[in-house]
């Protein structure tokens, strides 16, 4: 325990900068996954066949082991950050697309029928009715993607990208347990903190009319 405290007090600068790299990798990837995944999730609601194809594709991506994913991407984008971000992005897509798709699809048909009967176009229905009602489900997908992303990002060190994984793998290699543990704990704390902040964001974005049930 004391060895651990000693390590943290001596190397807090390193832990912090590794955390910074970690956040950069995970957030860039999830941010891109949101930008791409949410519109796809919204769009595929109009076509069931397309939805099946996209969902199956995303499912397959998810089954690739993370280490293999990093390796597979090397011929495409080489190593380091580009590779790491692309891999994390691909992992983030499934939960985001899936939750956006189901969130929209699960809106009570009575509500969409009323919206249509009142004279909303399908776009108006999407952004005035379906999307606001699906926010909790979409945000759940974003939270899953983020937490997964922070977890998987620890492996990115193996392809030369930084992040808290560096501390963990160096710690293992050098039998420096305080170093390894501080890397692991920092990654866990980062995941919890991010999830909490996203939870607050979700609460802010969701109408009181659907939370106070």
């Amino acid at each position: 325990m004391s060895a651990y405290i000693l390590y943290v007090t001596n190397s807090w600068e390193q832990i912090l900068s590794r955390s910074g790299e970690h956040v950069y990798l995970a957030f860039t990837a999830v941010g891109l996954a949101c930008l791409v995944g949410i519109p796809i999730g919204l769009l595929i609601n109009r076509n069931k066949k397309l939805a099946n194809i996209v969902m199956n594709g995303a499912n397959i991506l998810q089954t690739i082991p993370s280490l293999a994913m990093f390796a597979l991407l090397i011929p495409l984008v080489g190593i380091r950050d580009k590779n790491a971000i692309l891999a994390l992005f691909l992992y983030g897509l499934l939960p985001i697309i899936k939750n956006t798709y189901t969130g929209i699809r699960n809106v009570d048909p009575a509500i969409t029928e009323a919206a249509k009967g009142m004279g909303m176009s399908s776009m108006q229905m999407l952004y005035k009715v379906q999307a606001p009602l699906a926010i909790p489900v979409i945000m759940a997908g974003v939270r899953i993607a983020t937490v997964t992303g922070i977890g998987v990002a620890t492996i990115a060190t193996l392809i030369g990208s930084g992040g808290l994984g560096t501390l963990i793998y160096q710690g293992i290699g050098m039998m420096n347990y305080p170093m390894m543990i501080s890397g692991a704990i920092a990654a866990a704390l980062l995941a919890l903190l991010t999830d909490y902040i996203l939870g607050l964001l979700e609460k802010m974005m969701t109408s009181k009319g659907i939370t106070s049930k």
Partner: protein, 333 residues
């Protein structure tokens, strides 16, 4: 005025849902489409705001073929109320009412004023309800908001698809009464779909009884009850129905038309009634003046006689037997 002319509707080209249907609904009229589930009544209604397209035939509103209107614009000018209400749960009561006026880009100040006006009309205080969310309201209150929302853009036509069916009987009765008051006040054209014959008789100016995608009879409630067009209608409305709605019985229904010495009765100096005098009034006159015989006179000519036996024979005809008493619907008059 809404005209449906030779309308047919099939799904997938084989199942005939609506067949050879023609219907004319006058302006300011409340017409009820009634029938068992699957008879095509809801489909017929949905073709009016193009939620369903006709397979063949024409539907015209105020002389204009609805096929020529943009369906979205068309719907914004037709109120729409459904059974499950379909209020938007993420919007407040006030925002829900203002949805259509906002779609048509009305002046926000006007929308706010109109929202308060409509809320008051439904009997809900705007200070208490404007900023509440639908899930804080009872079923009856939600449907009141549903009706207010449908009226927000001041449409000429309002379509209602079993709007009160999910409510408890007492609330349903109140909302029916409120709808009748509303119609009297606003003179909108209502097309109302229900499977409940009692409801149809209570609120309809005219009723279209449907079976297997066709209209079996289209007439006033009174005429349907008294002269059902066929056995199906008679069974559907129930033979005891007149007994439940005695206010529809008139002198001409009670009188004995073949009274022997009818022509000898002098109609001066005695109490007489018109053919359209209500049963209630006839009975009161009879009681008040202790009359044995009341002549029914139309334009100076005696057309029938009301006697004790003619009243009794009417009762024999309309008092329900055991089968008529199985499901009492006597929550409201």
């Amino acid at each position: 005025m809404i005209q449906l002319i030779d309308v047919y509707k099939t799904f997938n080209g084989n199942d005939m849902v609506v067949e050879d249907l023609s219907l004319e609904i006058e302006e300011g009229e409340l017409v009820v489409l009634v029938g068992e589930s699957g008879c095509g009544k809801t489909t017929t209604m949905k073709m009016i705001n193009r939620l369903e397209e006709v397979s063949s035939g024409t539907i015209m509103i105020n002389g204009k073929d609805i096929k020529e209107s943009d369906p979205i614009k068309l719907r914004r000018n037709i109120g729409y109320v459904i059974q499950q209400v379909g209020l938007f749960p993420h919007l407040t009561v006030g925002q829900n009412i203002g949805v259509v006026p906002r779609l048509t880009k009305n002046d926000p100040a006007k929308i706010a004023k109109r929202t308060i006006e409509l809320l008051e009309m439904t009997g809900l205080k705007h200070e208490d309800y404007l900023n509440r969310y639908p899930n804080e309201l009872s079923g009856g209150q939600q449907q009141r908001i549903g009706v207010a929302r449908a009226l927000a853009n001041n449409p000429d036509v309002v379509l209602m698809d079993e709007p009160f069916s999910a409510l408890d009987p007492i609330t349903r009765c109140q909302l029916q009464d409120e709808l009748l008051n509303l119609q009297e006040e606003l003179h909108k054209t209502f097309v109302f779909v229900t499977h409940d014959v009692d409801e149809a008789i209570k609120i309809g100016d005219r009723i279209a009884v449907m079976q297997d995608g066709r209209i079996m009879q289209y007439n006033t409630p009174e005429n349907i009850l008294k002269n059902p067009a066929n056995q199906f209608i008679e069974n559907f409305v129930g033979q005891d129905r007149l007994w439940k709605t005695p206010n529809m019985l008139r002198a001409k229904d009670i009188m004995d038309k073949n009274y022997e010495n009818m022509k000898d009765i002098k109609i001066t100096d005695i109490v007489i009634v018109q053919p359209d005098t209500s049963l209630h009034e006839v009975l009161q006159l009879r009681e008040k003046h202790e009359l044995q015989i009341i002549p029914v006179v139309e334009e100076g000519v005696t057309v029938g006689i009301i006697t004790e036996s003619s009243i009794l024979s009417l009762m024999a005809e309309i008092i329900p037997g055991n089968e008529g008493l199985k499901c009492p619907h006597t929550y409201c008059t």
